[in-house]
Structures are given as structure tokens and as C-alpha cells.
Symmetry: C2
Subunit: 205 residues, 2 copies
């Protein structure tokens, strides 16, 4: 804060501190990065956690295909470079949200370890908590669920480069949280994530 | 919300509503888009407003060169296409922040009316309040201030394409708020903006 003593006028040349916003919100901004196969339960777990958090008076926001694909990343396709840029931008936006104090949940397959590690690194550099949530649901379960019929199309060769079928999913080596949705309800999955946040002091105990 | 009656398990397949987050924060998410020449007072007014808001318990966040240029937009240069994409991405991110309930202040020269109108349009489509704040400080004042010596360099021909010198600044035709920093302190400028937010019901009266 700068104060001109002669006139008693105050102004600011820089950002409010992260701590000030965290104190206001009574939580620490953080990114919860859900990763896993299509139909592994990422979105449902993230949305369920978002609803529980907001109902409890905590500010949470999900970044997913719905609010990213037709907006920020509408000029990206499915080339290798575009997929990498897609995840990079989402990572940068999540970092800004978390910096602002928001508990930010991202729900994207994000199959490549390298791309997720780039996002982790930019959070670490900024001192913003990054929590990788690996939805380790076996492909058999995902394929059985197949709510959008995508696995069926991929098996029939109508969809190319589908993660888990003809494109690799690189499992995290050391995710902070790992959940298998086969035997875990979305509510339980959200509960596991929220317990982790409380243990980390991101949410009040 | 989906509830499986047999098991009493609940889960969610979609986002928390904007209204729920606004109620939690006791404010409406909105984008305050500051535009004006270099040294016209955009950043100082935005930061001063951010500090006043957070001190009053309201969640506000400034997007500026500091947190955008070396992050989300680090892969953009200064070609016409890149400048346009720069503003588009900032606009999309501001919209997401405002959707999340945050009073979002952006501080970029954003000299072209067309680019600002693209950002306005995407807010209007999403039903998110967009407030253009035109820092209408005469170039003579900006050039006299010249805190970073940029006008001097531009006049000497060392900087090309500098807004107001050899690149146009297209003034908004109908900004919601217009401020001339020549005779307005940063604190007064912030006050003008916050009064506008109260009148619009974005902040509690």
C-alpha cells in the first residue's frame, strides 16, 4: 500500500495476497486434478464434491469440457500439439482459480503423464497446492458403463485415438488420491477427496 | 441431483448454479474490464478496488500482465492474430471467474473495439455481467507520467506499434464507466467503480 501523507490518499500497485483471500474464504485455494479413463467417474465425483462444498459454504468450481471446450479452448483440435496445449491452458486457468482462493476441480481424461506433470510443476512453482486424483477404475468397468456409447464406437473403429483402446492412458506414478469407482459411489469418492483436503488443512477440520 | 432411492446415495452430474455461488459469496460474479492507454491508471485503479473489496469481505481478483503473460498467454507474441487471441483468452478466463462468483477485474490496454466487443458478447451470451471501465486519461497525462519510460522509447522509435503513438487506441463508444485519472485519484477511481457495482446490485448496497 502506498500512502501520500500530504493528501491522505491510498492506492495499490499490486495484487491482494493469496493469504488474504484464503482468510476471507476460510479455505486454501487448491487444484484437484481428476484424471482417468472415459467413464471412470471423474466428472461425477468432481461435481458431487463441488455440490457438497458449496452447500457447506466453501467456494468450489469445476472446470470441465462443458465450460472449457466451447470457450477458452474452442480453437484447439485433437492433434498431439493441440491436446498438449489443451491441458496446459486448463492447468494455467486452474492455477489462477486456486490462486484466487477457489477449490478448483478439473475433470479431463488428461492421459499423458508429461502433460499432467507440466501442470503440477506450474502449481509447485507458484506455491499453489496441486492434488492429483486418479480415478483408477478398470477399463472393463468403464467399458461396461459406457454412458455415451464411446467405447462401442471405438471398438467398432468409428472413433480413432480413443484413450484405453487405441491410445494409451499413462497412469499417475504417485497421485495424492486414488479411487476405483467400481466399488466406490460418487458420494464416497467425493468424501475421500474432502477428507484429504481436511487432512492437508485446505479445508477447516 | 440424482438419488438412488434403494441405497440413499446421492450424486451430481452437473455444475452448481451460479446463483448458489453468488448467494454463498453475497455478491454477483462480474467482469470489470478496464481499458485505456499505457499509464492511464488501469492497474492502479483495479488493484485499489481489489484491495478495498477484499478488505470488505468480498472476493475480487485482478487479471493482468503479471499473472497472464508468463502463464496462460506465454505462447502468444505481438502479431495482430496473437493480440486478438490474447484478449480472447483473457475474456474467456474472466467469464469463468465471474461465473464462479468472483468480481473479476482485468487491466489490459485492449486497444481494439472489435476485440473488446467479442469479450462483451461472450459474457452477454453466458448471462454474466460485463462492465467496461474506460480510463479516459488524455495521452498528454499518460506521457507525462510514463512510469516505465515506454512513451519516451516509442517517441524515439525504439518501440514499434505502441498504442497511442504509432498504433491506434479505439475508445469505447458506450463504456459503463468512464474515468479520467488526471483529476481522479486511484482511490476515487475505485470508489466510482464500486458505487457502480452497488447500483447494479452486484455488491450489496
Amino acid at each position: 500500500m502506498t500512502q501520500d501523507k500530504a493528501t491522505n490518499i491510498t492506492w495499490h500497485e499490486g495484487h491482494v495476497t493469496r493469504d488474504a483471500r484464503n482468510a476471507l474464504l476460510k479455505q486454501k485455494g487448491a487444484t484437484l486434478w481428476f484424471t482417468g479413463l472415459s467413464a471412470s467417474g471423474k466428472s461425477t465425483a468432481a461435481f458431487t464434491a463441488e455440490h457438497i462444498l458449496v452447500a457447506a459454504g466453501r467456494l468450489a468450481y469445476v472446470l470441465d469440457g462443458d465450460n472449457i471446450r466451447h470457450g477458452l479452448n474452442k480453437n484447439l483440435g485433437f492433434s498431439a500439439a493441440d491436446r498438449e496445449e489443451n491441458i496446459r491452458r486448463i492447468g494455467e486457468v486452474a492455477k489462477l482459480f486456486a490462486d484466487a482462493g477457489v477449490i478448483t476441480l478439473t475433470a479431463f481424461i488428461s492421459p499423458y503423464r508429461k502433460d499432467r506433470d507440466v501442470v503440477r510443476e506450474l502449481h509447485v512453482k507458484a506455491g499453489v497446492p496441486f492434488i492429483e486424483v486418479f480415478m483408477n477404475t478398470p477399463i472393463e468397468t468403464c467399458e461396461q458403463r459406457d454412458p455415451k456409447g464411446l467405447y462401442k464406437k471405438a471398438r467398432a473403429g468409428e472413433l480413432k485415438g480413443f484413450t484405453g483402446i487405441d491410445d494409451p492412458y499413462e497412469a499417475p506414478a504417485s497421485a495424492e488420491v486414488t479411487i476405483d469407482a467400481t466399488a466406490t459411489t460418487p458420494e464416497q469418492a467425493a468424501g475421500i477427496v474432502l477428507d484429504y483436503l481436511r487432512k492437508q488443512g485446505i479445508l477447516p477440520a
